[in-house]
């Protein structure tokens, strides 16, 4: 609460009060609890959470305030002028003692079996403030399920969450967090009095993408998760600060590891107010399990006679030396290409770039393996849009937030929560503008669903309406008017499926806002015409001056996408990066740069003979499976480095086991451009090596040396990171032509391939906990579409596109309301990308029921 008020109220409106003899001046509306916290006085509490509104449920934070007859709960009492508070008087101590005693009336003393033992707030506060013994002799209240009477009190209320209602002290933190912070309604408090219980919605389960947080904030062991359940005691583990590897925002996490077993036991949040609010998505929380997975690649594999056999590193490197050397000598380094995952750290990315550009002298590298048909030019409008500055903490400060072409709950969990917070705590207004209805809509002032493939027309519509309504500078308006198509707002409205009023609403919102955040996401980034959309965005930015009073950016999706851009990992790096690289290396290959798409094309023509993938899985993620597989099968010599056996490693001649991000120190640049370090938690498992080590080894095999030592490497990276990597938008307004793409006959339903809310990329399917949430592909439909086809939830459905066909179960979405199909790409069991065509703006499919 305090923060809310802090932002809203000017510094003039402050109050001065005295806490334990110390004077403190705080903004009006700050609670006594927070005011005390600011001068380092810790008041014990169970139910207070810095990121939630106060509720005063636990009564533990009693303080004595002069002129108030009774003890007051400090979390819900606002500081006022001249207030004299004492937090440790005799009366307060007795009050706390009594509260603890009452709390323990029905709290079972099963600490030995309780998972929270050792990090339990109730344990700690009882030690500090409670009595040694209880004066209540009667039996404790015990919740037991009727059918489980003789077994156990624990209740599984979600795929990962175990509830023990006896231990619950009713602080309502879980319920409040779920409703206030996550906007999910699947856990609640039922009944009343001493029968009050926390439970899942009747007939439902707690399976929202943030459910893990409920376990973390529970002050007692009432909510535990099966991930950590009965594995180890918390005092036996050590903590290591690290960074989430699955999200673009670089959420801060803490690894709990054990050295002797070389095992990571869990991940918890490490609240960094500038990035996250201490909330983690389940992907972050349970995704770490891939580090411990038994199915990881243990040794290098070499293909011998069509079969991959285990080999030592020396053997594998010798094979690489032989073949890569051969290709390099006979056909030249330009015949070697590489694709790296943008989730790897700076050192790995830079080593990869250096290996290709100085050893192979080739420009065939890329890090974007899951975008269709990327343009290979540097200053493409998309690259410009992606390089724009963005600040996560500014989301809260914006009064208007527009999410355009992004399904945040599937792409950027952290930003999704930030937006919710902005709405609930800072009264921001959200407009959700997407080709299909998304979850963000429930907090949006209005949700606008445009027809897929008309993204740039929506932006044009907003601009045109703004010009018409004279909401913007007239000279700019005149300039723009001559550039964008002659379609009138009415026609645009018809084409996009939105109404003119909706355009007006958006235009007015942007022009009247004091601070705007305009978030553009993956739906735009994955679109074939992303440059066109970005041109429209450039116009919009210029017309409204969005960036002068806020921010507009395409958010980068992966843990280090921004780093990859900054270090020049695309085939055509930024000019300044290129110049710097030339300076550092003293050379830079002048051969033609080729991105993923061009490389796969050249593989087919057998012009690219050697290919190295590091952590990337183009076979699964490249949006045209048949194209990718044809290309990779034609490669003479394919080296694949990954943590697991994937579709790509299956084709490889040499497979090298790669370290996970928990196994080495690495720097990652999040979507804001902030460099954060993930520390090494455990030693590399099995024989895996970090990507930068592998690059160095390959270089040494080929008689070169990437770096003399670690220091040199860090210095070189440092030099590159210093460069300003924000590209300027074009000076002029841009012309945008709209050509109507005829939809394929017989394939009426637009298809979107994206991540499952519980998965990210191709690795998380190895995490058992995440599989409990969602373990196979499905096709998500609106209720109306399902009724039209005649399928119920879970019925198998044949999904046919002009190029592929899969059969997956239908899933009826509570959110979708138009005719679109959404299929997750995270599961190896379904070849989702085989439905896609790489040169198509909107993929469309035909859905038919599978007759039994």
């Amino acid at each position: 609460m305090s923060e809310v008020v802090k932002e809203k109220i000017t510094a003039v409106d402050t109050v001065t009060c005295t806490i334990d003899g110390q004077q403190i001046t705080v903004p009006r509306g700050t609670s006594v609890f927070d005011a005390a916290g600011q001068i380092g006085i810790v008041i014990p509490a169970f139910c207070n959470h810095a990121k939630l509104k106060p509720v005063g449920a636990c009564r533990m934070c009693y303080v004595e305030i002069e002129k108030m007859p009774k003890l007051q709960v400090s979390c819900a009492t606002m500081a006022t002028d001249g207030m004299v508070v004492s937090t440790n008087s005799q009366q307060v101590r007795e009050g706390r003692k009594a509260v603890i005693e009452f709390t323990l009336i029905n709290h079972p003393l099963d600490c030995p079996t309780c998972d929270k033992g050792g990090e339990c707030d109730l344990q700690d506060l009882t030690f500090d403030h409670g009595y040694d013994d209880s004066r209540f002799g009667f039996d404790k209240m015990r919740f037991i399920e009727e059918e489980k009477r003789d077994t156990f009190d624990d209740l599984k209320i979600g795929p990962e969450i175990v509830l023990n209602r006896n231990r619950c002290i009713l602080c309502y933190k879980c319920v409040r967090a779920n409703k206030e912070a996550f906007g999910e309604y699947d856990i609640g408090a039922f009944e009343r009095g001493d029968l009050t219980e926390i439970n899942a919605t009747p007939g439902g389960e707690v399976s929202n993408p943030f459910s893990g947080n409920l376990v973390e904030i529970c002050p007692v062991g009432a909510l535990t998760n099966s991930d950590w359940r009965y594995k180890i005691r918390v005092w036996l583990t050590k903590t290591v600060p690290s960074i989430c590897n699955f999200s673009g925002s670089g959420t801060n996490i803490t690894f709990y590891k054990e050295d002797h077993k070389n095992f990571v036991y869990r991940v918890t949040s490490r609240c960094n107010d500038a990035i996250d609010d201490g909330w983690l998505s389940d992907i972050t929380r349970y995704g770490y399990q891939i580090v411990n997975s038994e199915s990881r690649l243990k040794t290098p594999l070499i293909k011998k006679g069509g079969k991959q056999v285990k080999a030592s590193w020396d053997e594998a490197l010798a094979v690489i030396k032989k073949h890569m050397g051969q290709i390099k000598d006979q056909s030249g380094g330009v015949c070697i290409g590489g694709l790296i995952s943008p989730s790897l750290d700076n050192a790995s990315l830079y080593s990869f770039s250096k290996l290709f550009r100085t050893v192979f002298k080739s420009n065939n590298i890329d890090f974007r393996g899951d975008y269709r048909y990327l343009p290979s030019v540097t200053d493409s409008l998309f690259t410009i849009a992606a390089s724009q500055p963005f600040s996560i903490s500014d989301i809260e400060k914006s009064d208007v937030i527009i999410t355009f072409g992004t399904d945040l709950i599937r792409e950027h969990h952290n930003e999704y929560l930030k937006i919710r917070r902005a709405v609930n705590f800072y009264n921001s207004t959200v407009y959700s503008v997407n080709p299909y209805a998304v979850k963000t809509a429930d907090i949006a002032k209005s949700e606008m669903v445009y027809s897929p493939g008309t993204d740039e027309l929506v932006i044009n519509g907003i601009c045109l309406v703004a010009i018409e309504k004279k909401l913007v500078n007239s000279s700019a308006a005149a300039k723009l008017k001559s550039k964008i198509s002659k379609l009138s707002p009415g026609v645009l409205a018809k084409l996009t499926g939105l109404s003119k009023e909706q355009f007006e609403e958006l235009a007015e919102a942007i022009s009247s806002a004091k601070k705007v955040t305009f978030i553009v996401g993956e739906i735009v980034a994955r679109s074939l015409d992303r440059d066109k959309i970005c041109a429209a965005l450039s116009n919009l930015n210029k017309l409204f001056g969005v960036q002068d009073k806020g921010q507009l950016a395409v958010l980068s999706r992966y843990a280090n996408s921004k780093g990859a851009q900054k270090l020049g990992l695309s085939a055509t790096p930024y000019e300044i990066v290129k110049d710097e690289l030339k300076k550092i290396w003293g050379e830079y290959p002048d051969c033609q740069p080729r991105n993923t798409d061009a490389m796969i094309n050249l593989m087919k023509k057998e012009e690219i003979k050697g290919f190295i993938t590091v952590g990337a899985n183009p076979m699964r993620l490249y949006p045209d499976r048949s194209f990718a597989s044809e290309g990779l099968e034609h490669v003479d010599f394919l080296v694949a480095c990954d943590m697991f056996e994937t579709e790509t490693t299956e084709l490889a001649d040499v497979v090298l086991p790669l370290c996970s991000w928990a196994e080495y120190d690495g720097d990652y640049i999040n979507l804001e451009g902030k460099v954060q370090t993930g520390k090494q938690a455990i030693k590399p498992k099995y024989e895996s090596k970090a990507a930068f080590e592998i690059m160095e080894l390959i270089a040494r095999q080929l008689g070169a040396k990437l770096f003399e030592n670690e220091q040199v490497k860090n210095e070189e990276i440092e030099k590159l990171l210093k460069l300003d990597s924000v590209l300027p938008w074009p000076d002029d307004f841009l012309k945008i032509e709209y050509e109507k793409k005829s939809s394929q006959d017989g394939y009426p339903v637009p298809l979107f391939i994206c991540d499952d809310p519980h998965h990210s990329g191709h690795l998380t399917e190895k995490s058992p906990s995440l599989l409990n949430f969602s373990d196979s592909a499905y096709v998500e439909l609106s209720k109306g579409l399902a009724a039209k086809i005649g399928v119920a939830d879970g019925d198998p459905l044949r999904v046919e596109s002009p190029v592929g066909k899969i059969v997956v179960p239908a899933k009826i979405s509570p959110v979708l309301n138009s005719d679109v199909a959404i299929i997750p790409r995270n599961f190896s069991s379904t070849q989702t990308t085989s439905l896609l065509m790489r040169k198509k703006r909107v993929d469309s499919v035909k859905l038919t029921r599978v007759e039994e």
């Binding site: 600490c111 030995p112 079996t113 033992g117 077994t151 156990f152 624990d154 359940r229 009965y230 594995k231 180890i232 005691r233 005092w235 036996l236």
Partner: protein, 168 residues
């Protein structure tokens, strides 16, 4: 002359006294034991090798809470908890390295479940280090078993202080 007198004194006075002591002990009960065949009864609070108790129905008392391991000054207890089919916590692995154990009895003190006790067993010499690592199977008392006098003692203690009884 003096030397001769002392020598004579030794032979005729001191030596018979010494012989007398020997003679006396010949008819006394010996203080030593015929050890491997006969064993000395231990004091009730002797702290020998630990053992793990069971409930009357045969289930293990130990829930692997880790407090004994935390209390152990020699860090000789290793355990791994797990969940059984009923959803209860139990010790999947429970090992004590007796080469490290200093038999201080802190584990017994710390145990909230009355599961681990210092026993009276002290014969565990071996010729390799591995056999000094006692596992849960080695330490758990047999079930069903003959009545253990110490168990009744502990029960009495429990009765007096009213702690540790299994709840119905």
């Amino acid at each position: 002359m003096k030397e001769i007198l002392t020598a004579l004194g030794r032979i005729f006075i001191r030596m018979p006294i010494g012989m007398l002591v020997v003679l006396k002990h010949l008819f006394k009960k010996p203080v030593t034991l015929d050890y491997p065949r006969k064993k000395k009864p231990m004091a009730p609070r002797f702290m020998g090798r630990q053992y793990l108790e069971r409930y009357d129905d045969g289930s293990e008392r130990c829930v692997s809470c880790g407090l004994c391991a935390a209390a152990c000054p020699a860090d000789c207890i290793y355990m791994e908890p797990a969940e059984n089919e009923k959803g209860e916590r139990y010790a999947k692995v429970f090992e004590i390295n007796l080469l490290r154990c200093i038999f201080c009895g802190f584990c017994e003190e710390a145990c909230p479940e009355e599961a681990i006790f210092m026993g009276h067993h002290y014969e565990f010499s071996a010729d390799n280090r591995d056999s000094f690592i006692w596992t849960k199977e080695d330490m758990l008392v047999k079930h069903p078993r003959k009545d253990n006098p110490f168990k009744t003692l502990f029960r009495r203690v429990r009765k007096v202080y009213g702690v540790g009884e299994k709840k119905g």
